[in-house]
Structures are given as C-alpha cells and as structure tokens.
Assembly symmetry: D3
Homo-oligomer: 324 residues x 6
C-alpha cells in the first residue's frame, strides 16, 4: 500500500474541526454514573498455565449495565509490593486470548491486565465475554461498528468504552496493583479504547495508542475502503437515509473528542501506509491531544505499524512516565 | 464458478445421514410454546406508496420473546374476498426493504407478506427490526451465523425461525387473508427459513425454497469458502476447541431435519455452480424432504439461481397447489 | 470504494469544456433523417404473463436502418384513457428481460415502455434484439464500446441512440399512450441513452438519468479502471495509434453535448463513490444540462446509486412534470 | 494454477464421445461452397518494414461472404524458388499485429502467412479486419464466443473458419509459395482454427496446434472459469433457456469433430496446469485426431504452454513433414 | 479455504513412496563432515532487553562452510542448573527477530534457542545472517526455494540444514544447557528444518513440527498454488527443461526421507484447510516418521494451524519427553 | 490502471533534486577499476538454431569479479564488414532466453548482443548466469532488489551494472562488431541498466531506455505498490530501522544520477498508466538526462509501454544516430 493520505509535513499540521456534540460531557457523565450504580465486583482467580516465571489470574468484573466482563491479569510470579499496571485493550475482532499469550509486560516487571472485548473474540484471538445488547436498537451490518448505531444510547461502543473505564477501576482493587500508576494501552481498536479511557479517567499515569482506530470517523469512511471503518460506509450504502443520524451518533464516540480532554502523557504510533487507520485520522487525534505527547512514525508500514519494534519504545515510555 | 460439487447424477441420489439430536422435536415444541405465551398482537397500518394498483400495509407483530417484528403486506388494491397469501423471508443481510419494492405476487392476485429479518437489513436491502439477543451468549464473529452459537437456546436462528412461524400466525389474522391457503417462500436464507417453517407448521399449502441456505451445515463448511457459511468456519478457525459444540448447536437448526418433517408440496431451486449454497447441500435437503416435491435445476448459474426465470415457474407452482 | 473524484463542492462547480465537433448537429440530423426513411412500423402484441393487475405487450418497431427492435409495454390492466408513458433504456449488457419483470411504473398508473438493447442482453438481463452492424468497420475489443469506433458513421452507439429516438416515436403510436407526455428514463447506460434522446427529441415532458454512463468519455478513461469505460482504454492500450481517432468518434456521442441541447426538466442521480460512472463525469453533464434540473446525491454509494430509494423520488418527479 | 484436471495417465486415455450433428459434413460442404461463389481475389502488396533479411507483403483476400480479410506474408528477402508456407492463425482477441512482428519462420527459410482475425485485434495484438456479421442473429455477451450463437448459420466461427480455409487457398496463389507444402499452425484460438482447417482441407502437409482452444466446449464450460470459454457459461447464466440451443450450435464448431476428420501429421502441445484450455479438452481432441500425431506435454505450465521452448520443436516437426 | 486435499480418513493411511536417492545418507554424511572441519566457535553475549524475568544472549556460531550464523538464547534470569533446551527454527522469510520477542519457553523454565535463517529475515521478522551462496549455481526465481537448485551440492537448503545441525552442537556448548535434553521445534519451514535435524542428529529428546514445510515436494507443487512451494512450480514454468533435474535435487532435502530416519518422539501439527503446506504432505511425513509420534489435527484452520492453542500442547509434550 | 501520477504537463517539468552521494563518481571509478583487473576474456561460440538468415553465437565473458557472464550475439548470416551493435539488457526476472528468440535487430542488419542477467532467468525468460554474491551481506526479501542492500559495496546492482559495462567491452572485441557504433538498449530493468551504462561509458552512439526501472527509488516506493519497487518497501516494512541505510545504498544506483552524466543521444519511452515504473520516475530521469534526448509517450498503456509499436521507432532512432 503506497502512501494514501496527506504528506508527513501536512499530517504534522493537520488539526481538523472536531465533530463534538454539545452534551458530549453530559452524555458520558451520565453513562458512567449509571454504570457506577453497579458494584465493580472484581474477582481474581489463579490459573495454571504451566509457566513458572509469571502468575496469571482470570479476572471477572461488572462492566456496562453490571454485565460480566473478563480479562487476564499477568504479573511476575515472585512479585510482592504494589506493581504499576498496564491496562490493555484488544484490536477489532479479538478477545483476551488464552492465559499464556501475553508475557512481555510481566517479564518487564509490571502487572498487565488485558480486558476481553464484549461480543468479539471470534475473529483472530479468542474471547469469552458476551455483548448483552441494548434493547430496541435497529438492524446492523455484519460486525460491531453499526450495532445500535441508531442512537448514542444504544451504540455498541457506549457499552465497550464503559467496560474499559471500569476495567481501570477493577485492577485498582487488586492487592498487588499500585492504583496510582496505571497506564492504558492498545493497538488499533485497543488504541482507540485507550484514548477513550484517557478522556474519561482523569488520573492515569500514561496512555499508549498504536495506530488507533475510532478517530475522525467521517473522514475515515471517505478516504479508505479498509475494514472495519468500511462497515459504516457499507451500512450507509444500504441505509441511505441515515447518514446524518449515524454521524450524530458517532460524534459521541470519536477519539478526537476524547483526546482533547486527556491529560496523561501519551505515546502514539502512526504508519504512513496504513489503509485501515489512515494517518490523517491518527494525526487528527494526536494534534488534538491535550496532554504531553510523542508519536512514532513508521514510513513503510501498513496497519501492522511498528510490530516488534514497538515494544522497546513502549517500555522506554512506560519507565519514563512511571519513574520505574 | 465451474462445477464445484457432485455431478448431477450423484446429486439426485445424494441422501446423507441427518445430524439430528434426539430432542429436536422437544426443543422446537418448547421454543414455540414459550413464544406462544406472548399474544401475536398483529397490526396492519396502511402505507401511502403512491402506487395505484396495490395496497400496502406496514405490519407489526410479536415474534420470539414477544419482541416486535415488522413486515410489509402487499395486495391488489381492489381485493375484496379472502386472498391466498405468500409469506416470504429475506436473504442473508437484507430486510423487508421499502414499501414499494415487492409487486409481483400482488400483481398476480395474491396477498404477499414479506417479513423483516431481526438485526439484518444493513447489508443489501433495508430493514428495521432489531435483534434483542439472548443474554449470556458468548462472542461471535462478524455476522449473524455465530451469534449465540454457544447453545441451541441462545442461537440467533432460534429467534429468527420462531419469528417466521409467528409470521404465518400473524397473516392468518388479517381479514383479507385466507388462512387455509398459505405458501411460504424465499431464496437463500429466505429459502432456509421457508423450509424451517415447513417443518414446524403442519398445514401449509405450499413451500418454495430457492437455492436454500442453512442446509447440511457441516458439509457446507467443508466444501465451500463462500460466505455466510464461511462465518462458521472462520469462527472455528479461531475458537478451535468448539467444533463439536458448534455443530451440536447447529443440528437443531439444520434444514435437512426440517425437510424430513415437512408435508406440504415443495418447489426447490438449485444452481449447479452455486458456491454460496452448494448443490449437494440443497439436494441433501430435497432428497430428505418428506412431502410432494419438485426441483428446478439451473446448470450454469451460481447463487443467483434462476433469477427472473424463476417467477413464472413459482407462479405456476402456486396456482397448482392453491388451485387458483 | 472511498471517494475517488473531486469533492462535492468542486463537483457542483465542475463544468469542463465540451468536446463538440462542428458538425455535431448535422451528423445527428442526417442520421435521424436517414432512419426516418424507414417507417416506424410499431406493433404491440399482448403477452400472457399470468399477472392480473397489468397488461403487457410485446413491442416491435423499426429502429436504425429499419432493423427490428423489441421492447415491453406494460400498463394497468384496466387503463382506458391516454396514459403518460415512461420510456426506459437498459444498463450496459442487459436487454429488456422477461415480460413480468417491470411492474413499478404500471403500478403507479403509467404506461411503461422498456426498449431492448441491440446486441446486448447476454450479460445480466436477457434480450432478443440483434445488432446488425455497419459494414466495413474495423476490429473491436470484447464488448460494445469499441464496435465500429473507427468512425462516427459506423459506431455502435449511432445505431443504439437512433433506436432510442425511434422508440419514443413508436410508443407515441400506441392508442393508449398520451403522446404529449413522454418521460425518458434509465440508469447507467440507460441514463446515457435517456440524455441522448433528451438532446435529440425536443418535446419530452421529462428526463431521468441515474448515474448516467457515456458522459465525458476522455476524463472517464483517465480517472477510472472500471468497465465499461475501461473497454475504451484497453482498446487504446493495443491500438496505440488511434487515440485521437477514437476520441474524435466519441465526441459525436458524448452525453455532455446532448445535455447542452436538452430542454425538458431533468432528474439526475449521482453517487460519490461510483467508480463505474465517476461523479465528475455525471456533474459535467448535469452542469451543462440546458433545461430545468435537479440532482440527487448519494454520498456513500457506488454505481448502485440510490437503489430502491430512487423510485419514490422518481415518482415524485414524474408526477410533478406530468401534473398527474 | 495447480493441476486442475485428470491425471496425465487418465488424459492419455481420455476419448469422450464427440458431440457430432448428423449433418456436420453437409453443413461445412455447403458453407465452403457458398464461400467459393466469391473469387479468392488475393493481392500481395510489399511493405517497407526497414528490415533487410525478410520481405513482407500486405495480403488481402476475399473470405466468408466475399468479405475482405487481411494478413502478412513474410519470407526470406532473397528467396527465389517455391517456398513451403506456414499458415498461422491468431489467439483470441488478437489480430495480425504489425508488419515486423513475425520473423521466426521466414528466418528458418519458409514463407509465413499470418491471417488477421475478423473483428478481433483490439485486445492484445492489433488487427484491421472487420467482422461483417450475419443479419438477424440475437444478442451476445461481451466478446466473440456468443456472437450469432443462436444458430450454426449465424455463428461467428462459421465466418472465421471459412476465412481460414480460404487463407490456405489465397497463399497457394502466391508465385513464390509451394502450394503442395502448406502447414497450418496456431496457439490457443489459433490452434483451434488450425485444427478446423485440418478437418476441412484434405491436402495439408502438417498441422500445429498449441494448447488449442475450441475443443470439447461443454466439458470446458463445466470445469474451468477461465475466459474465453467462460463467455459461453456467462451467457447461459443469463440466457438460462438456451443451454441446448447453444450446444447444438457449438457442435458444428467443436474441434474434436474436425480432428476426427483430419489426415495430415499433427503436432499438439498441452500444458497440464492450463485453466484456459484445460488438458482434458486438448487430449480429447488429440485422442480423436485421425492422422499421424505427436503431443508435447508441459507439466508445470498454464496457457502460456511451451513458450519459447516450442519453436525449436515446431521447426523440427516442420522439417520432418516437409522433408526440408 | 475449504478442504483441498484427501479426507482425514485417507490422510491417516496416506504413505506414498519416498523419492529417496541411493546416496542420500552418503550425501549428508559428507556434507556434515565437511562442515565439521570448521570449529563450532559458539559465543554467547548478554543483551540488555530491559526484561527482568529472562536473560537473553546474542549467539554466534560457525554454520555451513564455517560461515557465521546468529541466534538468541533466552532463559530464566535466575537459572542455575543445566536447563533442557528448545532449539527452534524460523518460518519462511523470517529471521530470529528482536531479542525480546520470544518469551514462552523461558517463562516455562527452559532455555530457548532461536536460530536465525541465512539470507532470510526481510519478509516478516527481522534477521541478520547472510547467505554466502555456493559459487557457480545457476539462476533462480525470487525467493530461496530455487537458489542453487541446479544440484544438491549448491542448493540453498544444504547450507541451511547444515546450519541447523550445528545449532544443536552450538547450544550444547552453553554452560547452562543440558546437552542431553534437546528438543528441536518450529512451524512451517521451521518444522521442516526441525524434521531434517531429527533425521540427521541421533540423540534428540524430542521433535516438534507444526504444519511442516519441505515435505513431499512434487505432490505439493501439483496440488497447491500456495507460496513458497509455488516458487518451484513457477521456476519450472520458465525453466521447462529442468523438471527432472530439479526434483532430483529436491530428493536430497525432502522431509519424508528425514522422517524415515528419525528416532526421537515427535509432535506434529496439521491443518486440514492448509493450502501452504497441504495436509497430505504433512501426513506423508508423519506416516513415514520412524520414531514415537503423535499428531494434532485442526479441522478448520489454514496454515496458521493451532495458533495460540498449540503452545499448551507443546508444553505438555515437552514435559513428557523431558520428564520435567 | 487509470492515471496514477502527475499530469503530462507536470511530468514534462518534473525535475526533482537527485539523491547523489558525494563520492558517487569515485565509487564507480573504483568499482570498474577493480573489475578491470580481470581480463574480459570474451568468447563467441557458434550455435545451431536451424535458422538460415541469422548467425547466433553463445557469448561468455568475465563480468564483475571476473565471474562468468553469458549472452547471445545474433547477426545477419551473410554479414562481412563491421556491424554496428545493439547491446541489450533484460527486464527483471528474465535471462537471455533461448538462442532463437531475438531476431529483430539482426533482421534490420545489425549485430545484437543480449546479455544474460546474473541470478535472474527463472521468472519469465530463461537464463544461465549465476550470481556469485558478495560475502557478508545481510538478509534480503524474496527477489533481487534487496540483495546485499546493506551497503553499496555489497549491493546486487553493483555487480550487475559492472557486468553491463563489461558487456560493451566484450562485444567490442568481436571481429565483426564496429566498436565505434554501440547502442545500449533495454526495457524496464533493461532500460535502467542501459541508462547506467550510458552514465559510465563515455563513447556510446546511442541509448534506448523503454519504461526504465531503477529511477528515483524513494518516490517510486512511495507512490506505487507495484513490484519490483515494492520489494524495497516490503523489506523496509520489516526492517523498520534501516530506511536511511537502504536509501543511502540506493543513491549509488539511482538512474537519475547516471542520466545526469550521460552524453549519447537517448530515446526514452514512458507510459502514463504504468504502475510498475511510474511516469514521474521516468520523467525525472529524462529531465535530468544530459545528452540529446527524445521521449515517446503512450497515454493509455501500463508497463507494457509501446509494445510492438516501439520497434519501428527504435529502428528509426538507431538509423539516425548511427547514420546507417
């Protein structure tokens, strides 16, 4: 995939107007308040993976609507004191996977919590958390991007972002986690969720967003045919009379609005040949990001972004923001 | 798409063992009984389409779980006496469309009811009926084939087939419909639903199933990469430990089991170059069909089947089985 | 297909120079005069479709060179007085289809004539009208776009556009058709033909052109790889020394030149993600259109354009221009 | 393209029943007799190619219906006595090309005549010969395979095969050509034509057919999606009621019937991974070939067959059958 | 990818004749002896990855021709006694990657050595080891499959397999590695190398081969178009006169011949929808494997095989064969 | 492929800055001097092709590092005096082919030398010359573009360009070749090599470069996904930390730098829809070319460029620059 978007010089200056509804903050305040009527009810059950250097726990907590959400907590087997924790979210279609899949952060000495994704987990990495959808929403196209898109109240990502905010609350209840030192992380959809949490949780220690998805929806649907943004365009190709309704809903979930509210130090990644999450949508978010920030640019990569080259850079960032 | 399956001679003899669970009948008896605790509550509101020869009504009735399901009822504008009714179901991804789209059956002098498809209707023809899913089911892959596939109770098609059975009940309540002369119909997923209804409703006048989907799932997933069967295979490529669980669920929804219970005269269509609904899966159903039956074979077609050539054949069939 | 052409703001202003030969009008005057040496010889034979609400007639008339051309005339079965008539032309590769396929306009109370397409009708909807080609034209590539493209006299579309003009003459001879109230219509190639007729027949009541093909050929061949425009580019990739010759021929058939001569009220459709008939070629035609005009823009559609959403808009337009 | 057909052992034995109409010989006798009412009228005009070792002539002769057909005659510049002549036909979509393109046979010391292909020559190598089609034939799909396929009388290949028979007559009139020593040749469609001529002209010195097209049509349409056979299948996917009519026409043009009538020594080529002209269709022809024969098998090639490896083998064959 | 090969029942019995040259053992004995004239010269340099639970060393040793080969040795940071070691080889196109990428085996308590792949490492995971090719070999197609394929002496895999045998020797020199307890492992090309080593090194503790590549070359090139086997077929499509020469070379490198010489307990993986390493090639190897063996079958997977589901099965196998 | 690059007007003015290293000339002076320590050792062995008009010789000479390189020398069979010679180089993946394949230049009265391509010749035309690679270079991706790309010294094209310079020296030793009248030629990679030789050999009579490859590497990798430029981008997508290193190497091989040093009259070809060698990369070279020059523009062609239309233009050019 050759360069498909603005030039790097243009990208660095690209700061489009944000599609922000007037009651954006009110919507999210009410959404999270409603969720908080349910106790977080986090449980941490040890799992036998056969691995000796790390300890893995099967996490359950009450997410949106008090519905059950799963995750894995992995930490050094010998850890004693409070550990900083990386809270990670999954890319589109994937779930938390199996208990032994995520070893990097624990091997680096941290606690690592990987949240399962409601409904997803059939596509590339397994998951187990159902999506108990909102009643009364209308039809959707294959996938999750248009589930309940008829209104902000019924939209799928309202449930998922709420789960993610509560995932941070859940790990803060763990006896070995240092509640003051939480870093959210993720790539693609996981990066988009990480940014959403950054805009909704005021006291994070850091935010990692690799090639983040869910940023500047409308432009994305206009400049790329790549899925999953394409799900929205394909839905509108059928439901031709809902263009404004759909983008009115999406405005409550657009990462650029969360970025403009964030304050924690952030590490973004962008790939200049990415036709899944085009670079201008990533830079739109980055350029609006309100906290301290840095961005790694991969000039010859698509949506795979930095791949294995990213982990050392993330580790360096985490050490800096955590001071450990 | 060249020939991809058995030869026509082999197809005519192909009658594989059916994957039938012992409690198949019990499962459906209980499912329909539970649905029947909800009144059918059918309403028929006139719609102004600007058309002069036909009269269109917006139908609402209570489907699975009493949840609202929509449809269009189209009939000759001047009709007075009781009309035989064609009850049609949609192909995968589509809904009932707009009010003016379906004119053939009404122009032929019948009532025509097209049921909306819960959750679908974002893919190629619009719909408006939501899928209020069962709580507690696990993750799925994009699409509807794996929604709630963790158990027969939670599987998406349990809800949809129940809607379809109740659609027949609903139209029978219409003052201008002749409740004794109902023909179910549909192509692809619609054909599969038509066959499911044929196995569950004992007093139909006829059954039309064009290139029916949802027949002999396991073989389908083994011989074609075509979607939507591929959704199942793709889900199992991730959820590798659920192969038996998934096919145990699907056995309650396999069209070959419904075909073996049907008694109404049936008209099937099969296309020999169909890689979406491969001919052996269609003939497996046809060869197990327990009522009077005939099949039209299109040797050079794919899933489009007979296209416009089919309507005259269907009209001839309907006239024969209805005696009008 | 993401946005592939100018922005909507640019499109609304896009009015490129037209490639018009000096003797454009003379060419068409002579062409139609030559055709008019053959009597129109329209015949209308009733067809038994089994449908009760409409009456269908198999139409034959003498087109270009007096060669036989077919069509279907469909009207309300009970019609008595003179009916306005929609004269429709087919998309590329298709013919008039089977007698029962077109019901919308008759159901709305109009006569509807669908002209068969010479030579075509093997691709997606059946036809029966041969193309008796001009003698002495040179080679072509697969398809119709380059048949006889060696000169305006031998070009395929000279024959087809002449057929179309004479189709209007033919239906005006029908006893139940109101010759004063003719609306031409069509999508894609049919829309291009509709516009050509609009430029050649001075007394139409209205013109419908959905995602019209055959507009601004050269730009089309430069900005899209979509067929059938691509047939021209592919031919020129082989016949490298004929670029100027080919575009000199096409100038006599370019819809922008017909649009600039039209006077009837027009309804255009354009789809912003259409890579078959790119939006700038449609707007070039629309912006040059000399009569009253309106255009419907579908932002997330490809060449399928408005699909079923279009019929109600067309009906509204037809009622307005016909006053009925 | 992996192996797609029978195994080599099976291919060597594959001799299916030929689809031969009773009046096959009568049809061709009458066709050629009708053509012979037109004088051959061959002309040979020198062309300046700038080449010094060969002499090129622009050939014109009267083909089917007395219609003009072109070709190039290339021979050693210094030739004096009568030369054996290779009469070659083009692959599908191509014409005779430019005057300097064909040098091999003349460099080997022979005269070489390359016949242009009526109507073709827009696809990969230029041509200049028009196809003046038969009046009254019906619609076709893009391409030449279905032109006039409504009857043997109107079918495109009736005209083309007749041209080819007359091409042999034409070169025999050339003062430097040895009329007793004519070898026909061609690859793909050219190979099919070469075989047709071999079945219609009794006194050829040899026949070359590389990966020949136009053999055993029905099986070809059933086992491959490759074009151009696919044109037939695609036509029948639309014109669903013409399957028997189409194959009744094609039986008059099937290479297996010509092969069964040939007597000259033949050199075939087959490629085992050829999905354009599948190996079983080639072997069906080869195994029915009635004259002396040999076949070269390329196990890892597709339709490109032997490529440059073929010319030395052909030269060896030609020397053997010509004795020079 | 639907099922593309024999049925599972047939696969379990599939034991084709092996293409074994008479001097197979002599060839390898001489090859390894020649290599052994170079000292192994293994060095192990600590690398700072920032990880706390594991210790990583940058390994260098002398491979084929004494040429330098790299690898990573990863082990628990606190290990003291001799550790069993998993020696792993890379899939096609990949190298050893970055130092922090492989954590599973060390987290399970073992030493893990991942050998770099000469010349590869530009395709999906980085590498650093050059391929100093054999002088005098002929041309190749893109990729490694045909490098030096003109003779067994010059073939690329002679060098790579020799590197792999010497990798086992190298790790045995490490002070913390238990030289008696070595398990080779790898997926795809890595699985093929693992099997080659199993046939050349007599005292391994276990062998893991996931969806192994390099088994039964000729059948593979005949039944799949998947790369990299396709490199061989594509080379032969050009170099048409070298079919026998190429397979004569490959016989010295065919995994089925190594399998027939192995004695260590083996764990195979096969995926029934794998079109890169088709199941019959894997079962051919498995069914010829001479030591104790077991195979995991993934019915709905392609070449990704068991993915994350495999690691627990491998860990269980390793624990069993190592007794720890 | 529609237009993918600048407009023709922009292309004619496109003259970007060249990426020229300071020691470019020194690098090549030293490279050629080192090569010249090996005698050229040209041999010319007659080959029996069975052709009568031309005489073919199998050429061997010592190329880079004194390594053996092959080629064909074809000339009129009757030639006596010194002949001007066309020295041609091959497109990517191809070798010199078989002895009878190249006849045009000899038929025009010239000597024609076609140099084999080291290592290539497995892809589309056979070759026989091995690439004895430089020791110590690192990994590469499939193909030749990244072989030894770690440094200018080890890069594959250093060896190949040196071969090409020495090919000119070799033919100059032939008794029938006029050493004063040498024209280099080639298409795609062959055109790139032709330009490299034009920049390194000061006394050529002419230079032909059709759709030349290897010009303005970085822009090429940014604007097209076409192979083989894509090999570089794909390598950098894995080896993310080597972007600057790779382009530092390529600067020594970029055709724009050779063009700026050339003095012989040049004939370029460019195709405006070429996505393999995009037009801006060709014009960048052309606009920097320092000698007399002309360019043929094909507006509707891709990388096939002028095809058979080119030879007459080249012959006209050659006659002009040679005066014969």
């Amino acid at each position: 995939m050759a360069l498909i978007d603005l030039s790097l010089d243009e990208l660095r200056e690209y700061r489009p107007q944000r599609p922000e509804p007037e009651d954006f903050d009110q919507f999210w305040t009410e959404t999270l308040a409603a969720a908080n009527t349910h106790p977080i009810a986090a449980s941490f059950e040890p799992v036998d993976t056969g691995l000796r250097l790390v300890h893995v726990e099967d996490v359950n907590f009450a997410g949106y609507g008090g519905q059950p959400v799963k995750g894995w907590l992995v930490r050094p087997a010998q850890a004693e004191g409070p550990l900083p924790c990386i809270v990670e979210f999954c890319g589109y279609g994937g779930g938390r996977g199996l208990a032994h899949e995520q070893l990097f952060w624990a091997n680096a000495g941290y606690a690592h919590f990987l949240m399962d994704t409601r409904g997803q987990g059939g596509g590339w990495r397994v998951g187990e958390t159902p999506d108990d959808g909102a009643d009364g929403a209308g039809p959707s196209i294959n996938g999750y991007m248009t589930r309940g898109i008829q209104s902000p109240e019924t939209y799928y990502y309202r449930r998922l972002f709420t789960d993610a905010v509560r995932a941070v609350q859940a790990v803060r209840e763990h006896p070995l986690v240092d509640a003051e030192r939480i870093v959210t992380a993720g790539g693609s959809q996981g990066g988009g969720i990480s940014l959403a949490v950054a805009g909704l949780v005021p006291d994070l220690a850091g935010v990692i967003a690799d090639v983040p998805f869910l940023q500047l929806f409308r432009r994305a649907t206009e400049i790329t045919d790549g899925y999953p943004y394409k799900e929205i365009a394909a839905f509108l190709a059928t439901q031709r009379d809902r263009v404004e309704q759909v983008f009115a809903t999406l405005a409550y979930f657009d990462g650029v609005n969360f970025a403009a509210r964030a304050n924690a130090p952030a590490l973004y990644t962008v790939a200049l040949m990415d036709d899944i999450c085009p670079p201008s949508t990533v830079f739109a978010s980055y350029n609006h990001y309100a906290g301290p920030k840095q961005i790694t640019v991969y000039p010859y990569n698509g949506h795979e972004g930095g791949g294995a080259f990213n982990a050392p850079k993330q580790l360096e960032f985490v050490r800096k923001v955590l001071g450990v």
